[in-house]
């Protein structure tokens, strides 16, 4: 040490006698850090640009719809609450593709994981915190425009009961969507320490599956095998959510010819959706079993 610095050193070491809040606190801290990180908060200005832009892009159509509804005195909103996220799925997909790798790949790439696991926090805490944070980030992204629509609808003096019901159904739908997307996105992102591969992987998963399912559904519609349309929907994350909300949340299906699943098929959809969420969690737990020291 240089002599000039000795003055500072002479203050001496102080022991810490304060509170140690343990695992649950660490888990909450990791959750809030990850959630803030998903929007670039607490990070550099550069990393705020993309998530904030996408957040804006999600909200602007809702604001325009509200403006149109209020000025044109429409009797209902131009778009159902449950349809909003489906229409803007590309934006949600981009957000997930950008932020899921940011959340998990960095810790893998820079080998920060062992520092977590050498502390009271455990594997399950890490996975739960990261999963919940990503799902919450997506929920904020998807629920905020719904809130704008709802407030706008009330300002436009639309029917309170109908709007509240629609808003509630929309919220349930985006909760399911948030958990499903968060799980799938994190699993793909955690496979690789390379952020770029994570981004590409998430986009590929969402876009390719959706493209394939839409194509098959279009062909099925063309051949009048409308029963198959609903079954095909099980093979892409967005259409799974669409199917569940069509069956249970009185949404209008975005499937070709509006041939959404029946209630019976809806049960299968719901089972698949929950299985995907649970499966994502299981895969993440598995992934981090070996990622310790």
């Amino acid at each position: 040490m240089a002599p000039a610095q000795d003055v500072i050193h002479n203050i001496g070491y102080r022991n810490y006698a304060g509170a140690r809040l343990g695992r649950a606190y660490a888990r909450r801290a990791l959750f809030s850090q990850s959630l803030r990180g998903a929007y670039g908060l607490g990070r550099s200005a550069k990393s705020k640009v993309l998530p904030m832009t996408l957040f804006g892009v999600m909200c602007v159509p809702a604001a325009i719809m509200v403006a149109v509804t209020v000025t044109a005195k429409l009797s209902k909103l131009p778009l159902e609450y449950t349809r909003y996220a489906i229409v803007l799925q590309a934006v949600i997909g981009l957000f997930l593709a950008a932020q899921a790798p940011q959340s998990v790949s960095r810790d893998l790439r820079f080998k920060t994981i062992p520092l977590y696991f050498s502390r009271p926090i455990e594997r399950v805490d890490y996975v739960v915190a990261k999963f919940a944070a990503m799902a919450s980030a997506l929920f904020v992204l998807t629920a905020t425009p719904l809130l704008i629509l709802y407030v706008g609808a009330l300002l436009a003096k639309l029917d309170f009961a109908a709007q509240t019901k629609g808003f509630a159904q929309g919220l349930v739908s985006v909760v399911l969507l948030s958990f499903l997307f968060a799980g799938l996105g994190l699993v793909v992102a955690a496979l690789t320490p390379r952020r770029g591969f994570g981004v590409a992987g998430v986009i590929a998963l969402l876009m390719i599956s959706y493209g394939a399912v839409s194509t098959l559904q279009a062909i099925a519609l063309d051949r009048d095998t409308t029963d198959a349309i609903a079954w095909f929907g099980l093979f892409s994350p967005v259409t799974v959510v669409d199917g569940v909300q069509t069956a249970f949340l009185s949404a209008t299906s975005a499937f070709p010819g509006h041939h959404g699943p029946s209630t019976g098929q809806g049960v299968v959809y719901l089972a698949v959706l929950l299985a995907l969420i649970a499966g994502s969690y299981g895969l993440l737990m598995r992934r981090y079993r070996k990622a310790g020291l």
């Binding site: 820079f110 080998k111 520092l115 502390r119 009271p120």
Partner: protein
Amino acid sequence: MIATESLSKRFPRVTALDRLSVDIAPGVTGLVGANGAGKSTLIKILLGLSPATEGRAAVLGLDVATEGAAIREKVGYMPEHDCLPPDVSATEFVVHMARMSGLPVTAARERTADTLRHVGLYEERYRPMGGYSTGMKQRVKLAQALVHDPQLVLLDEPTNGLDPVGRDEMLGLIRRVHTDFGISVLVTSHLLGELERTCDHVVVIDGGKLLRSSSTDEFTQVTGSLAVEVTDSEAYPDGTAALGGALAAAGLIVQPMGRAAEFAAAGSGHVLLVDVTGDDTYDTVRDAVTDLGLGLVRMEQRRHRIAEVFQTPGSAQERGSSDAA
């Protein structure tokens, strides 16, 4: 501080630890072993992150098998590898790690500022860590292990990648962690010599077995060997052998230095290792070289390497002994 009892860890194809029994008292303890000797495996077990195949271990009186979480709250760990994200500042990073240890936000900030200052990071702590030198990175890694004021820190190869000055500073810092901060230290290295100066006690393991556990004083008593390299001359085509013979005749213990990797790399098996018995050893060597008319290429004091512990005749008897420093 740390006590293990016939601790074993077997992987399908390797035995990483083989019935290791060792008692480590408070203070600075060096854990020496070659790469793959089981040092990192031992640390993992001590942190309660990897179950032992058999045997028991306790850290700070807590059982590693059942009280891992409690241990990890009171222990700090500095890994061997890089673990710092380049795009955040040291302050942000250490604050986050302090919170992961359970410190409330304000305490985490205070402790971070204190700890970074103690390890010698000042203004640069606000800059992204990607631009740090290896020495600064090692300091941040040490700071994150100390930030929650543990009772014990496990430092895995803290001097790795440092230049000699950085190495000395890091070793001095490690010493201060115990003397000034009152935190016990377990530090691993594959260089016995550098631990001699820092540690009160040194534990040597090899192939997962305890080779030796003794206080540093005992090590320094047997310290002192001299590496001598000479040229060949026309009278003595093999100058090294000639000198070896002459020194042996003068009553010194001489070994050819085939094994040590750093000399082999220098391209010569022409180095003799002479045990230093006193100041007159140097004179004897000098005289022997001049008498033979050889050119003296180098004569340097060597630090101990693990290889020598193998050669020490007393090591077998000391196996398992664990007298505190």
